[in-house]
Amino acid sequence: MELLGQQILAGIATGAIYACMALAVVMIYQAIDHLNFAQGEMAMFSTFIAYQLMLWGLPYWVAFPITLIVSFIGGVLIDRVVFKPIHDAPILSHVVVFIALLAILNSTAGFIWDFTVKSFPSPFGSAPLFGSSLISAHQAGMIGVTLLLLVLLFVFFRYTRIGLSMRAAAANPASARLVGVRVGWMNALGWGMAAAIGAIAGILIAPVVFLEPNMMISILLYGFAGAVLGGLTSPAGAVLGGFLVGIVENLAGTFIPVIGGELKLPIALMLIVAVLVFKPSGLMGRTVVQRV
């Protein structure tokens, strides 16, 4: 029983990583109505920018906001430079460009900073929380920041004019344009925000898994899974989904004999697919009515 409790707690701690990434995934989905395969590499690259700034001697709390601003600008630039020219191309062509971005960012980061793992500082420290040996201060801090981001996003999308316009621009560009929303810039803004949230996720995740160019590839998978499980239209669902993926995966790995350890991720994914079969828009997502 004690092990069960420990594994659930560890699952929540790992789930915080996925939840953080899932938030970034949902952010971009709200802004452009696509899943962005390059999201993880963008977060990784932002984290390397923070690393480089600190290597140049800047203190953490100076490097952090600069990284967010640089990432925001980078996100806007990606939208304006890379995606604006192919705005009318079919969706799968966009997906392929995401994959191209992924390759470019991964390879460039490896070229500049090489592929060995690097430690990354945590603002919360890595001591055990309250002397309990199960969850570290950093992991607790990460859960806190994720929840805070969630509240901010919720307020932004629900109550601010710009947040509402952004959702409108993604959901129905033609109608949004008619009511005066500048759809193009809303997309760019969404990219910028997604890049900045990704940067926060990367900076929080790196102290746990170590910084290296491939660090986000597998985490993005879990982030997608969490976001889809929770419902892509709901930030709260994404966070919940991320935590659930972490917990289910740990329990499968610990308690299913023989194949559990070797197949913990596939088992978690199968459960998600099973949930989706019965609840096709995710746990907390809105059902989209299709018009003929």
């Binding site: 560890a10 890595s126 040996s133 898994v209 350890g261 991720l265």
Partner: protein
């Protein structure tokens, strides 16, 4: 004594002497295989410069730099080395394609130090059918050296994973006969190979001593769950058969949860730069491992005149490389070994003779080998390096202790 003589005669002088021989021995029979001329030897190589194992790409970079140095010093027996290194992204089908390109299109004399068990498994049959040497493969999988009869053209270099595992087994039996062992292993050929060696080394006691094991996938973001599982099983001796990133995570996590088992990490993850630094040097104090190369981060080693040559090589050809990365020393030492083989070949640079000379290494030493470790091969023994020594991390560098253990001794 023999060792002293060898170490004083540095590699550079060895090459010069070789060159002098070549010049004076113009009468000697010249016999060239593909890729060899009076001025050049073509050598092929396959590395994962991209993809999941790209951290090992540095090995190919060091080797490229090494042969550049050799060429600037006049080459080997007067011939420059043309080192052609391709990327396979750690994908077996791509490795086959690149190997065929090297052999059939670039006409290399042989392929040297191609990296990874999957990639080398994929090309082994082809290389042997084509009778092209697949020399000193960069993996410790036993299968590349154990059968010189069937796979005459394939040879490993580093101590095999299984013999390393056996050495841990013997060490535990002798020093911690009542340990409760927990094994964290990477769920692939490498992790399973070392684990098998450990079980062999423990012999009959393996069943009772190993109380828990936990596999992880290279795609797992963290191994927290596995560490907690092993801790909950009452393990007091934790062994990591993992690659650097996960060994670093495990050292850090063990410290974070306030667990104090005796901790062993395998040689692949004994790199201070890519494991202990990220994990926190203090967290690693007391961790055990085995080694066969000198530890370049040790200040005593840095004073060693033969090792200084290695540092001046790095200063000149790879000034930006992280000195604490163990792969640099690995790549340098294996390149020296192949240079020795080429020297021994003289002017008979055929594929046949490459294998003959590679199987005829007698007490060869790279200055980076630990004292007492030598490379020996014969036509029936393709295991180039078979000795290891236990070592303990002191927070800064490794302290070696105990005798040099040979894998043969650990077998009994």
């Amino acid at each position: 004594m023999h060792f002293d003589k060898m170490s004083r005669r540095s590699l550079a002088t060895g090459i010069l002497v070789g060159a002098a021989f070549a010049a004076s021995g113009a009468l000697a029979q010249k016999n060239y295989g593909p890729g060899v001329t009076d001025t050049e030897i073509k050598i092929g190589n396959i590395m994962p410069y991209s993809g999941p194992a790209s951290a090992y790409g540095i090995i190919g970079q060091v080797e490229t730099a090494f042969f550049k140095m050799i060429n600037e010093q006049g080459g080997i027996n007067g011939r420059k080395i043309n080192f052609i290194s391709y990327d396979d992204g750690y994908s077996p089908p791509k490795a086959v394609e690149q190997a065929r390109k090297l052999v059939e299109s670039d006409d290399v004399l042989f392929i040297f130090n191609s990296l990874g068990t999957p990639s080398n498994s994929a090309i082994m049959k082809y290389m042997n059918a084509k009778k092209v040497p697949q020399l000193f493969v960069a993996t410790g999988a036993t299968k590349f050296s154990e059968d010189p009869k069937t796979n005459h053209w394939t040879m490993g270099w580093q101590p095999s994973y299984q013999s390393e595992g056996r050495i841990y087994g013997k060490y535990i039996l002798q020093n911690h006969p009542n340990a409760k062992i927990g094994v964290l292993y990477q769920n692939d050929d490498f992790g399973k190979d070392v684990y098998k060696g450990l079980k062999d080394g423990l012999g009959d006691k393996a069943k009772t001593l190993v109380v828990a094991d936990a596999p992880y996938e290279v795609t797992d973001p963290t191994i927290d769950s596995q560490i907690l599982k092993l801790k909950a099983a009452g393990v007091d001796l934790l062994i990591d058969f993992s690659t650097p990133k996960f060994a670093a995570q495990s050292i850090k996590k063990v410290a974070e949860v306030g667990w104090k088992p005796l901790h062993i990490v395998n040689n692949v993850s004994a790199s201070i730069g890519s494991v202990f630094k990220p994990a926190g040097l203090d967290n690693g104090i007391g961790v055990l491992s085995t080694g066969y190369l000198k530890d370049p981060t040790d200040t005593k080693t840095q004073q060693d005149p033969t090792v200084k040559e290695f540092f001046s090589f790095l200063d000149k050809y790879m000034p930006d490389a992280d000195r604490t990365n163990l792969n640099l020393a690995y790549a340098y030492a294996v390149s020296q070994t192949v240079a020795q083989v080429l020297k021994q070949c003289g002017d008979e640079l055929t594929r046949d003779n490459i294998m003959k000379q590679a199987a005829n290494l007698k007490d060869f030493r790279s200055p980076l080998f630990l004292e007492g470790i030598t490379a020996n091969t014969s036509p029936t023994d393709y295991f180039v390096l078979e000795q290891l020594q236990m070592m303990k991390f002191n927070g800064q560098s490794w302290d070696f202790f105990g005798p040099i253990i040979s894998a043969e001794a650990a077998k009994s």
